[in-house]
């Protein structure tokens, strides 16, 4: 293909033939002669043109190879393989993404549930605290004031009043600064009434949280609490209040023997 084969000499002619010194000298001289005095000949111009093309191609190729994209010079099958690998990788990463997203959703749900459970627990604690008298409460309700100038009001009358209030839906009750809870008891006779072993004196003031429209009629029914008390020369005042505060507290008591049996 290349031109040195043309004159019929074998490809490695000078490798085998013991070329004369003059031949080799002329080779060198020819190189020097071709290089130094720049002559504009047809041969030189043609070769220059072809070498220009070669240099151009060389530079372009080097440029495109050193372009960071290794894909530029890649062959079709290589590109297909690379594309396949990328597809696989995309698939894998997509799967992983879905898995992680599912995991995240699960964690979020569980933390939501934990949060919800905590919230409910706090809410329940507050409700139970109102019942057990460990937290203060406020809300609509009534005040029941019993004045007892004749010391005729006995413990059982006050207890009746309390039961009536409970039956009418009272949620938090305080009597003369004593919070009324499940095990509250009244004792003593007129003028010497004790609530949970604390002496209270007239006027007896019940602060009751509940629905006022239920509580007041419950006290005022004929033959009810108010009439019974008035028979004993006591004066009774029932007053509806929009926002009543029950802030007498009880210490939370840990049961010694009873344990919760619910999980």
């Amino acid at each position: 293909m290349s031109n040195e084969e043309r004159p019929g000499e074998p490809d490695h002619a000078d490798a085998q033939t013991p070329g004369s010194t003059t031949h080799e000298l002329t080779g060198r001289q020819r190189l020097v002669a071709g290089l130094w005095p720049p002559r504009v000949t047809r041969a030189q111009l043609v070769v220059a043109l072809l070498l220009f093309v070669l240099g151009l191609g060389l530079a372009i190729q080097v440029r495109s190879t050193s372009d960071n994209s290794a894909l530029r010079g890649a062959r079709q099958e290589d590109l297909v393989r690379i594309l396949d690998e990328l597809d696989d990788r995309t698939q894998r990463l997509e799967d992983e993404k879905q898995r992680l997203a599912a995991q995240r959703t699960e964690l979020e749900n569980s933390s939501d549930q934990a949060e919800e459970a905590r919230r409910q627990t706090v809410e329940k604690e507050r409700q139970l605290g109102v019942l057990a008298g460990t937290v203060a409460a406020h809300g609509p309700g009534i005040t029941l004031t019993v004045n007892d100038p004749g010391d005729g009001v006995k413990a059982d009358m006050l207890l009746d009043a309390l039961q009536e209030l409970r039956a009418a839906g009272a949620e938090a009750i305080e009597v003369n600064g004593v919070r009324v809870v499940a095990n509250t008891y009244f004792s003593g006779d007129g003028g010497n009434v004790r609530v949970d072993d604390r002496k209270i004196t007239a006027p007896y003031v019940f602060k009751v949280i509940g629905k006022p429209q239920d509580l007041e009629p419950a006290l005022n029914i004929p033959g009810g609490v108010v009439q019974t008390l008035e028979k004993e020369q006591a004066t009774v005042q029932v007053e509806q209040v929009d926002d009543i505060v029950v802030d007498a507290l009880r210490p939370a008591k840990q049961p010694d023997y009873a344990r919760s049996s619910s999980p």
Binding site: R28, I60, R75
Partner: protein
């Protein structure tokens, strides 16, 4: 001298202008460059041997490039493009080496 200048100018222009190669030609460019290099080395050797003919050089240069590109094209069509282009590069590399050896003997007499 002018030939060497042509090569240098070609490289410089290629680096500076950064021409866009059409996508069709792109896979054949590296093989074509190697084939052209082979022709150039052959021409240089012929010149040192004193048997350089410009017409022969032009024909060998162009036919080298065309045949090399053709082989790669054929290989791509047959599905053995990568192997065939490797083969072409190997063959051309051997030829370049043998020509370079001849040139070396001329220049260094060794």
């Amino acid at each position: 001298m002018i030939a060497v200048l042509g090569l240098v100018v070609g490289v410089v222009v290629g680096l500076l202008v950064r021409p866009e190669v059409p996508a069709v030609v792109e896979p054949y460019l590296p093989i074509a460059v190697v084939a052209a290099l082979d022709a150039v080395f052959g021409g240089l050797r012929a010149m040192l041997d004193g048997i350089f003919v410009d017409k022969v050089f032009v024909v060998s240069f162009l036919s080298n490039v065309v045949v090399a590109a053709l082989i790669v094209f054929l290989g791509d069509k047959l599905g053995v493009g990568a192997q065939l282009s490797t083969g072409v590069v190997v063959v051309l590399g051997i030829r370049i080496f043998s020509n370079a050896a001849a040139i070396r003997r001329h220049v260094f007499r060794a």
